[in-house]
Symmetry: C2
Subunit: 317 residues, 2 copies
């Protein structure tokens, strides 16, 4: 009843209903799941863009500029800023949010920050659910922005249809780091702060790295490298064009469906793993856990046998 | 029978038996688990050291120098070099292995490289198992060396008792990146290539970062920052001393047991998640999976309900 009400209001564009649902998701409230199940049926219209890259690459300013450009194109924008690193980096995150403040007054822009809650799986799931709510709420483009560029960020932006990797000139070792896992997920590269010296060299290095990636050559989409200056706004309209072009390419090549399929599969596996953990918590007492772990640590029992005992207790063997 | 034989030979110090077990682990062979279960009872004597840090920080050269120093202290050394990034970085890994070549002739040093196999969980599990085999094989220090410093590397080095984070002077943005998840896991910091300008500044920055970490202040172990030059070997004996001091501190404060307990818990949860995936694969046909995923993508069904259907099918609800 109350759930139907909030769903109806959210679908009708009510910001307070949306904010309330996002809070329910963040608090992992029991109500959240039935609401999200209803909302799922009304989604699939938004373009979900993931934005990742090293700290200091100017992602927040770029997101702000991109949002302004998309607003000029009359889109409604949702921004989910995710920080999977320790609570320790809270300061930097706060600074970024202040930079986005200028968007906060616009009723057609919805911004929400999500900090780490200890579990990467939990954060990735909550991010997916917030995107689901924004999608049902009729936002045209939803930007998932991450703070860093680690494995955690990669996992989070995988929920996007278009992944933008942001770098800046003169990050030699950064390009090295980009190789490790990030290159493969990029649909669009941005060299931000392109007014700095070395921008063209960074573009050349990226092109060279991509030319080494044999798998990429098989793909219909040629990853563009866009030079931007988030401070002046230079290159931002081109970035917006490339994002739209990528979505179009995904649609035309049938890749949108296959990407959605992979994402649904990952989400279901994550939900099942979560169900496993809940089942363990409900079936095996903390004392029993502690006893088994003590046995493993003391080498009275091996971890494989100990895990099998738990698997039996929860009926999984 | 054959399994008993190989276990006996490995425990007796036979290198070929050890190499064979490591290969069984890498191939995820059905025999591997019963062998490892036996080996677990004979472990717990080695000092497991994890070494992580940015690409280009000179970790491989440092591992080589550290191993020489520990050999001078009459230790037997196992080295597990792990690359959780894409197969794309295979070249760099190969270069590193060549640098370690000088150790390869020593019968008291065992080196094995492990590359990504698509699944981070699989790689982390295989690394744990190789460490288990080396531990049972009587190696005094086992070094887990990772290629990069991302979330994947963090997960892998969590299997260690002592985590060393390696950085080099002049990585301003690197220090930024260190904040995100790596700072918390460091038991020892190394500023390598300390003959370069800016080493003292990097040390000062690290000290400042650590002073911001309130949790650290509660802990009995004060994380040392060791300046090394892996090329000349300078600072390496001090690093070896600090590693030994950290192990001693873990023992004296009872933290060795609590750390082992946390590691056993993580390993069991990982084993249970793996069992879940195997159970799904054995119970749910690929066609049934595909149908459910199609329903979710087409929004005829929500992912929570779809996951629940699978959970019911495998008897988990």
């Amino acid at each position: 009843m109350m759930s139907n009400d909030i769903v109806g209001r959210l679908l009708g564009g009510d910001r307070r209903a949306l904010a309330r649902v996002v809070t329910l998701i963040e608090n992992n409230a029991p109500d959240a799941r039935s609401i999200l199940a209803e909302l799922h049926a009304h989604g699939g219209k938004a373009h979900v863009v993931g934005m990742t890259g090293s700290p200091g690459a100017g992602k927040s300013t770029l997101v702000t500029q991109l949002s302004r450009e998309l607003r000029r194109r009359d889109q409604r924008i949702g921004i989910v800023a995710v920080d999977p690193s320790s609570p320790f980096t809270g300061g930097a995150l706060l600074g970024d949010r202040i930079r986005m403040q200028e968007l906060a007054g616009d009723p057609n822009v919805f911004i929400r920050s999500m900090a780490s809650r200890g579990s990467l799986g939990g954060l990735a799931a909550a991010t997916r659910d917030v995107v689901r709510a924004l999608d049902a709420g009729g936002f045209d483009t939803i930007i998932i922005e991450t703070v860093g560029a680690g494995q955690a960020e990669v996992e989070i932006v995988r929920a996007a249809q278009t992944v933008v990797v942001v770098t800046v000139p003169g990050m030699g070792d950064d390009i090295q780091a980009i190789k490790a896992g990030i290159l493969e997920i990029a649909d669009v590269f941005v060299v931000n702060k392109a007014d700095r010296p070395g921008a063209d060299q960074t573009v050349a290095e990226l092109r060279m790295l991509m030319s080494l990636d044999a798998e990429r050559k098989e793909k219909p989409w040629r990853v563009p490298i866009v030079k931007t200056s988030a401070a002046s706004g230079q290159g931002v309209p081109e970035l917006a064009d490339k994002l739209a072009a990528h979505l179009k390419s995904l649609r035309e090549t049938g890749q949108l469906a296959s990407r959605s399929g992979q994402q649904a599969r990952s989400e279901m596996l994550a939900l099942l793993n979560q169900a496993l953990q809940e089942r363990i918590a409900a079936t095996v007492s903390p004392e029993e856990w502690d006893r088994l772990i003590e046995d493993v640590v003391n080498r009275d029992r091996d971890p494989y046998t100990a895990a099998e005992i738990i698997a039996r207790r929860i009926g999984m063997v």
